[in-house]
Amino acid sequence: MSTYRDLLRAELVAAAERPLPRARPSRTFVLRSAAFAVAAAAVALAIFVLPWSVSPAPQPAVPQAQLPGEPLFGGSLQAGERYRTQHLVPSISFVATGDRWFAQDTDTSDGLLLQWREGRLGSSTGRELAPVLFLGFLRLPTVYDPGTLHARPAPRDLVGWLRANPDLGVTGVSRTTLFGRPATQLDFRVPTHPRQTIPDCVYNVVTVDTEPPRQTPCAAIAPNATPGAGSAGRLLVPDGPDPLVVVQSSFDPKRVGEIVRDSAPLLGTVLIAR
């Protein structure tokens, strides 16, 4: 018998006999979410720069226990199926409006990342569809201290902090609506060579499915906001205290329009627990 198989089995059975430890907020979750990083930056910029003049038409509150949908687990989503998150705070419910949505990091409270997949991953043996476009729902409680990479509570003047951060590349600001509320839209493009990056954090970016993935560093904005160098996208930040911002992003700046277009129907189905 295999030593490793036996050892792993014994460890799992022993773990099954113990009470499950409580989940902690995941730091690595953010480090791995390129799209989320941008979202954090956008929040601050929006608050700082933009007026709050649009009259709100808020979405009806839905108690968490009444959110419709199947429990959301990581993996491919079934087109037309409604799902509800189990760990994101606040919980959301949405319909997978397409056949290539893939849910990632569904067991954290700070964010949910959905991938739009196509092509093949670069490995000659790999047959998985490659994530090419990203739709994220994110909270941003902490940021990285410039120069030290230490996480600290988001500053009171978050917008000012973000505006001073050279690793954010906001290229346009406009008004929009999100979840039935007025919101701010921020277009961004992360520098190709961010000044501050996360050590040992790289994204394997698939742009041509017949070529090996290229590796790109992670810009250090916040623990759950580490966009890939050179990535681009759009942030949607609802007015008011709503904690969830939405990011639509791609490693390929030319494809941002696609994720904006393809994610719009899904965003139209989102219900948020209050």
Partner: protein, 181 residues
């Protein structure tokens, strides 16, 4: 009931810790082979398998029988872990750390060989079960790295027809891997 075998779903949801071990026994070999074929490295495949089962142990309380077979649910987790590995460049160990699993950082030679064998055997067994034209096309294109044009010439058909056979064969394999018991 004496003599009856519990289902995967019963084992997964059982309060008896040993039943999770039985669920593990049913799937570990195929899962190791599944990962090894995709990442090409036994150590990474072992890490991903451990992380997948650890995540399944953590999340099994949320598994609801009916919509998806327990094995399909397990492979949903596995796909997630694999995608994450591709993106990070290495396997995560978050769930293993959460459960305080004590595992070796590297496999010994025997285990590495075992996983490589599992990768070959499970792949070939699945391919052998394909319809003949699809099996031949997949073997030629995927395993022997032959061009569509060359296969078409030897089969006296068009490259488009070969491409379709490969595509259909791989689609069947994906479906079978996703729900295989």
């Amino acid at each position: 009931m004496p003599g009856s075998q519990p289902t995967d779903e019963q084992l997964l949801l059982s309060a008896d810790a040993e039943d999770f071990g039985r669920f593990y026994d049913r799937h570990i070999d195929v899962l190791l082979g599944w990962f090894a074929r995709r990442v090409g490295d036994p150590d990474t495949a072992a890490d991903l398998a451990a992380e997948t089962f650890a995540a399944a142990l953590v999340a099994r309380g949320r598994f609801r029988p009916g919509a998806v077979p327990a094995a399909g649910w397990l492979y949903g987790i596995a796909q997630h872990k694999l995608a994450d590995c591709y993106r990070r460049g290495s396997a995560d160990d978050r769930m293993c750390r959460r459960l305080s699993l004590s595992l070796p950082s590297r496999l010994d030679a025997e285990d590495r060989e075992m996983i490589e064998v599992l990768a070959r055997d499970s792949a070939l067994a699945l391919i052998d079960a394909l319809p003949g034209d699809q099996r031949d096309a997949v073997l030629a294109h995927v395993f022997e790295d032959a061009d569509y044009e060359d296969i078409a010439a030897s089969e006296h058909t068009s490259p488009a027809a070969i491409r379709k056979r490969v595509s259909r064969g791989l689609a069947v394999l994906r479906r079978r891997l996703g729900v295989q018991r």
